[in-house]
């Protein structure tokens, strides 16, 4: 309409978009202030480190979910799959202890097997979505049921406990630290940085956004749509397994109520972070902020006495709905 090529961009427009993009950070800051008002210990380094460490399970899963959701897909099976893989890791380690002892080699076998099973499980979801042409919602809803039943079956309705000595070997992976920084935080941060770079600066990331924006355009633009989508589900499965690898040393057990509703938290974190649920745009740092927001809310609910902490998940549920509403109103005001 305007016959100018690359004229100076209206500055007001830029700043408005910036402000919208920073929404999650604003929410995070408000929650920090609220927490500090409610409890003196809130802003201590140990409390904050604890919050981020606890957020790392969901955080790593939510990073995978960011990839899947950016392509316009969804994975509801992450919670059940995490529980299943935690159970499998425990079974593998326990069964190897008599022959291999309780050293690191046994733990390593458990970890590698867990990661492989996670990637394979995710890839299975991906194959059903792409080659099977089934809605991701249906595929992963089915997988949610299957994995939940499998962990219940493996635990025989009870709880799988990690061998005690093996647990001693394994637990530093969660409780240990490097230069005073807890290991789970380091792993979470490394995964987040790699993911952010992959989403923003590689062809894989660009193709993911293109598919989420318009799958037909992607196909007509020589993008191997099925392969890319399959890879996002496999990646999601791998990251679920990584979360399970960190979960086992912390709790040393797995049962049918392990990781229940993690899919809700992971998806909530992604949406709060500004990734669009319909696909086409995703950002990892937003997801990281979203996960920390969710963890903060739980933490703050525990620090005060007006509202029952049992309502935590109600808050998470409400937040996911509000976040989508905000996304939509932002879109319509454009």
């Amino acid at each position: 309409m305007t016959p100018t090529t690359e004229a100076a961009a209206p500055r007001a427009r830029r700043t408005r978009i910036r402000f919208g993009a920073l929404g999650p950070l604003v929410a995070l800051a408000l929650l920090m202030i609220l927490g500090a008002i409610l409890n003196d210990h809130f802003l201590t380094l140990s409390n904050l480190a604890n919050i981020v460490a606890r957020a790392s399970f969901i955080g790593i899963i939510a990073i995978g979910a960011t990839f899947v959701i950016t392509t316009g897909g969804i994975d509801l099976s992450v919670g059940s799959m995490a529980a299943f893989i935690a159970g499998v890791i425990i079974i593998i380690i326990n069964s190897l202890v008599p022959s291999m002892g309780t050293g690191w080699s046994v733990i390593l076998v458990g970890i590698v097997a867990g990661l492989a099973i996670g990637a394979a499980g995710g890839a299975a979801n991906g194959v059903l979505v792409t080659a099977g042409r089934i809605e991701p919602f249906i595929v992963t809803l089915g997988a949610l049921g299957i994995f939940r039943a499998l962990i219940t079956f493996l635990a025989n309705g009870g709880t799988l406990n990690l061998n005690f000595q093996a647990s001693d070997t394994y637990s530093p992976l969660y409780s240990g630290n490097v230069l005073g920084i807890p290991l789970p935080i380091i792993i979470f941060a490394v995964v987040a940085i790699i993911a952010e770079v992959a989403l923003r600066r590689t062809t894989f990331g660009r193709h993911i956004a293109a598919i989420g924006s318009n799958e037909q355009v992607a196909r007509y633009s020589a993008i191997k749509v099925d392969r890319v989508r399959l890879m996002t589900y496999a990646l999601q499965g791998f990251l679920v397994a990584l979360a399970a690898v960190l979960y086992v040393p912390k709790f040393g057990s797995a049962n049918s109520s392990t990781a229940v509703l993690w899919e809700l938290q992971a998806i909530a974190a992604v949406i709060i972070g500004g990734t669009t649920l319909r696909g086409g745009f995703g950002r990892i740092w937003g997801t990281v902020v979203g996960v920390i927001i969710l963890e903060l809310i739980g933490n703050i609910l525990n620090l005060q006495s007006f509202i029952s902490p049992y309502l935590n998940q109600a808050f998470q549920g409400a937040i996911i709905i509000i976040a989508v509403l905000l996304q939509r109103s932002r879109k319509t005001t454009n």
Binding site: E6, A7, A9, T202, Q216, G280, F281
Partner: protein, 508 residues
């Protein structure tokens, strides 16, 4: 149909000194416009001239920044979101607004279902729908599902829906853009029936010949300004085009440079079979522009998609530069030097929610890698080059592609396709729905590409365009090639006779 309805007939809907700005950007400047009962008033102008905005204001979808609307002699403020339909002002969008899974009858009565005791009176509605379709001479089963209808029939359903709402002013946004010649004729008959009943019609089109055929009066817009409102009878194609672009368009089509007779064959297709097409054989020489004419649905796009591997071919051979190829997907076809530019800009060609750069480089991202990372500097340079080469006009590179005009989208898509440096380019409707000025630019680009040795297949439903550009023309009908025209044979009449099945082989 070009006789003017006397000024004695008062206008039913008029816009008085309407201006409109979006943010700081003015798009309409003090426009006067009116339409009378029983009249067809056409609006023409280049993309970005403000036609769509004016139409939206006339139907309440947008409010003017200043100026007034008079309807039925009274100054009114039209309600938003299509609620003006209740007043009798109906806008039929270019992308038709029908729910694909509903039946025809449900669509016609959508939101105004006839009920008794809380239940729908299905039979009564069906009868009324049938009666309505009958009076409009529309041969569509009221119980058919919308997604089983052709585009032309869907449009007729939209019109029936409008009439059932007692439309007194019908505003149509490029209704013929996706119609074949025959379908357009049917639509025009419909329009004449409506005007005979006193309906006022506002008609937007890019096709000048159509406008002169159907309109009583024509309003020309350019860059948001009202250039003139004239009787269609006094309008000539030249004068209209000149008013639209503000310059002479004597050389709409560049001169043809026939390729040498002994130019090598770069593409040869033999007995190709795929869903919707049969027994397709043709050859393309280096530097040649080969036109593909035919009605919509005659299988031209199906040929292109089968050749580049977007659909599976079930038989036949394809050779590129003498070597047999069987592309399984677009990536392989690109690697073989063969690119396909889709006719569906927004659905298949461009990511409308993204900026210019990711769209331009989507096909060829591998050329902008440093290690495993995307080199944004190299991408930006590519955009600069494409902007210059194809004259893409955008406020800035961050603007979303969906906000560009159709012409600029088309040029961006052309840039995207050419990024892969293909030797053979299949262009599917490269000027659909874009303005005359941009068309001319694209014609010159196509001719220049051929002159520098690229080979081009031009699929187009605009006969003038096929005739004006092609060195040779293949005509398709019902999934088969029914004729091949060269030199002096390339005339409108010859092509039409072939595509109607009056002449040529397999004219069953």
């Amino acid at each position: 149909m070009s006789e003017t309805i006397g000024t004695a007939v008062p206008s039913i809907l008029s816009a008085n000194r309407i201006s409109k700005s979006f943010g700081d950007i003015p798009v309409l400047f003090s426009i006067d416009f009116d339409v009378r009962r029983g009249e067809v008033h056409a609006i023409i102008g280049e993309n970005g001239a403000g036609k769509s905005t004016l139409m939206k204001i006339l139907s309440g979808f947008e409010q003017p920044t200043s100026g007034t609307i008079t309807y039925d002699g009274k100054q009114v403020t039209l309600p938003p979101n299509g609620e003006a339909e209740a007043l009798g002002i109906v806008l039929i969008h270019q992308e038709l607004n029908l729910a694909e899974h509903l039946k025809v009858v449900d669509s016609i009565f959508l939101g105004r279902e006839i009920e008794r005791f809380g239940f729908m009176e299905s039979r009564l509605m069906r009868q009324k729908a049938q009666a309505l379709l009958d009076t409009l001479h529309v041969n569509v089963d009221p119980t058919a599902r919308i997604d089983t209808l052709s585009v032309a029939d869907k449009q007729m359903v939209e019109i029936a829906k409008a009439i059932s709402r007692d439309a007194r002013v019908l505003i149509m946004d490029e209704p013929t853009a996706v119609l074949s010649l025959a379908e357009t004729t049917t639509l025009f008959e419909q329009i004449r029936r409506l005007t005979a009943r006193g309906v006022a019609i506002v008609f937007i089109s890019h096709k000048l010949d159509e406008v002169m055929k159907i309109a009583n009066r024509v309003t020309v817009l350019r860059d948001g300004q009202l250039i003139a409102t004239v009787d269609a009878a006094v309008l000539t194609p030249d004068s209209a085009a000149q008013m639209m672009v503000g310059r002479e368009l004597s050389n709409l089509y560049p001169p043809k440079h026939e390729p040498d007779v002994d130019a090598p064959k770069v593409l040869s297709v033999r007995n190709l079979e795929a869903p919707g097409i049969e027994d397709i054989s043709f050859e393309l020489r280096k530097g040649e522009i080969l036109g593909f004419a035919g009605l919509i649905g005659s299988g031209r796009t199906a040929v292109a998609e089968a050749v580049v591997g977007l659909t599976h071919r079930t038989g036949g051979e394809v050779e590129v530069n003498g070597r047999p190829v069987h592309f399984a997907n677009v990536a392989q076809s690109l690697a073989g030097g063969l690119a396909y530019m889709t006719k569906d800009r927004k659905g298949k060609g461009l990511l409308v929610n993204m900026g210019l750069t990711p769209n331009l480089t989507l096909l060829t991202l591998d050329q902008h890698l440093r290690g495993v990372f995307i080199d944004t500097v190299s991408e930006t340079k590519a955009l600069d080059r494409a902007v210059r080469r194809f004259d893409i006009r955008a406020r800035d590179a961050t603007v979303r592609v969906g906000q560009l005009s159709g012409g600029n989208q088309q040029k961006l898509m052309l840039g995207k396709t050419m990024e892969s440096e293909p030797a053979i380019i299949i262009m599917d409707e490269p000027t659909r729905g874009i303005d005359v000025g941009t068309k001319q630019q694209i014609y010159h680009i196509i001719a220049a590409l051929a002159a520098e040795g690229k080979s081009i297949i031009l699929i187009s439903s605009e006969l003038q365009e096929v005739i004006g550009l092609s060195h040779r023309v293949i005509v398709m009908r019902l999934g088969r090639i029914v004729g091949e025209l060269e030199g002096d044979q390339i005339t409108e009449e010859q092509i039409v006779r072939h595509q109607m099945g009056i002449e040529g082989k397999a004219a069953a």
